[in-house]
């Protein structure tokens, strides 16, 4: 599997570590319900098909990347940077 890192270009999956489901939203600190907290920590959609997930390019540029990948074929459909250099974040400013 090659992941197309937005900084480094296509690199082997062994340079990356998997950080799991990228669609999870941490509940707000003001949200006191146990349900929201335990759902965030434990529940996963685990789809068979397109999956949004976070990979960390630990043996490369060390950025976190949001990857859309098909879990049936391993085909990688899109990669975008997360964090301060994310193109989406710049647009907001």
């Amino acid at each position: 599997m090659l992941i197309d890192c937005p900084w480094c270009g296509p690199r082997s999956v062994e340079e990356f570590s998997y950080r799991g489901d990228g669609t999870l939203k941490r509940p707000a600190l003001s949200d006191n319900s146990m349900n929201a907290a335990s759902a965030y920590v434990y529940n996963r959609e685990n789809p068979a098909g397109d999956h949004m997930e976070i990979w960390h390019h630990g043996n490369g540029c060390r950025s976190h990347i949001l990857v859309k990948r098909n879990t049936l074929t391993h085909k990688i459909l899109s990669c975008e940077l997360l964090g301060p250099y994310s193109p989406k974040r710049k647009k907001k400013k």
Partner: protein, 419 residues
């Protein structure tokens, strides 16, 4: 149905082997059953068998998408053990060990259970301390465990690199003598034959397309071979748990599907006497009765439903194997394959009533499902028959996550790929 015996083998030898019959029928689905089990793998088959044999519920159907035993029951590395630390796990897997010991006789089918011992290698003094703790925990729970020093390990395992020059020199190990391996396909076929003899219908090539509901209740399944009704529906579909449960409207579960790869080498003369696991990484190896070395390592580590993995993991497993056994560096691989496993959030399984009325769930086996096959079916059958879990599987509920009572053997936290 013919009972298998030495007499039958000899009789058939003289009559051209014409006296054998198929080990199970290929029945047409009935309109309704008392219980439907979704999934004709090891756990589904053993559940149906124990429903019929222990609880006398024989009007049971097993609904299987492909052919019998086409999933993880035929894709594992056949290791049977109960060397756990946490009491919930030890109790459950000890129950499984008990059932394994008499399984061939009970099923009248040779599952080739071979208690050849499972040896976990330790490479540091700290690891030896941890193994002493685990061994003591196992013995306190009624199991067997022996702490071996390096010389004892070397005597029993001539191929291992026990020298000080090894990449990770071996300090010793923890041996569970009563653990070992079994023939995985025979386990599926034996349970299938046993269940079929007691009247269970095994419906192969029968894929669940949806669930029948009356209000909130699940009252059966819709399949490509028609609607089948039942008061109780049990789900035991391993890696496909999230997909099947989504058909019932359950969108989120504490499960991720991952791929685990396994490997078989060309045949050798007997060289690995037991099951050996590497302590400075993740690798387990044994030798099949045909002589091939059967081994595997970690998960690939990402969500997947593809029954194949990637090459970096292959390289990792091979380098660990040759670090343990330098002599195997020139051995050729015959086969490698992958199986989709349902990794739970704490590395422990779920055997429970619910989450919907009329439904029962057996999932989250991570990569330890094979050794659990008899106990999983035994506990799941009890849960289905009595509408309540047995005390052995009561801790393995779905609610334990929300209640903050995970059973996390490794202490790895809620990241399924780390267990």
């Amino acid at each position: 149905m013919t009972r298998y015996s030495a007499f039958e083998v000899i009789k058939n030898a003289f009559t051209g082997n014409k006296g054998w019959q198929p080990a199970w029928r290929k029945p047409e689905p009935k309109k309704s059953y008392d219980v439907i089990i979704v999934g004709g793998g090891g756990h589904g088959l053993s559940t149906a068998y124990y429903l019929a044999s222990v609880h006398k519920i024989t009007n049971v159907a097993i609904v299987e998408k492909g052919w019998l035993g086409s999933g993880n029951i035929g894709r594992n590395t056949t290791i049977v053990r109960s060397n756990y630390l946490l009491p919930e796990n030890t109790r459950f897997y000890e129950k499984s060990m008990q059932l394994w010991r008499t399984l061939s006789h009970e099923l009248n089918y040779n599952v080739m259970f071979s208690p050849r011992g499972v040896l976990n290698l330790a490479h540091t003094p700290g690891q030896m301390d941890l193994f002493a703790e685990r061994g003591n925990a196992m013995r306190l729970m009624g199991g067997d465990a022996e702490l071996l020093d390096r010389d004892q390990v070397a005597r029993a395992n001539p191929g291992l690199d026990v020298s000080g020059n090894a990449r990770f020199p071996i300090e010793g190990g923890l041996l569970q003598p009563s653990a070992g391996s079994a023939r995985h396909d025979a386990v599926a076929w034996g349970f299938a034959r046993g269940a079929d003899l007691l009247g269970v219908d095994i419906l192969e090539n029968c894929e669940v397309k949806g669930f029948l509901r009356e209000g909130d209740n699940i009252v059966g399944v819709e399949t490509n071979r028609g609607e089948i009704r039942a008061e109780k529906t049990g789900i035991a579909v391993a890696g496909s748990t999230s997909r099947v449960m989504r058909l019932a409207g359950i969108k989120n579960l504490p499960i991720e599907s991952h791929v685990l790869q396994a490997f078989v080498s060309e045949s050798l003369k007997p060289v690995i006497p037991n099951v050996v696991t590497f302590g400075n990484g993740h690798l387990y190896a044994s030798q099949s009765d045909k002589g091939g070395l059967v081994f595997g390592g970690s998960l690939d580590g990402y969500n997947t439903y593809a029954q194949r993995g990637n090459l970096p993991l292959v390289e990792e497993v091979m380098s660990e194997f040759t670090a343990m056994y330098p002599a195997f560096a020139r051995l050729r691989l015959l086969r490698s394959w992958g199986g989709v496993v349902d990794m739970s959030m704490d590395g422990s399984p779920i055997i429970t009533k619910g989450p919907l009325p009329g439904m029962y769930l057996n999932a989250g086996w991570c990569y330890g499902g094979f050794k659990a096959t008899p106990a999983s079916g035994w506990c799941f059958a009890h849960t289905i028959a009595n509408d309540a879990p047995h005390e052995i599987n009561a801790p393995f509920s779905l609610e334990r996550y929300k209640q903050g009572r995970p059973i996390d053997e490794l202490g790895a936290g809620p990241t399924p790929g780390y267990h």
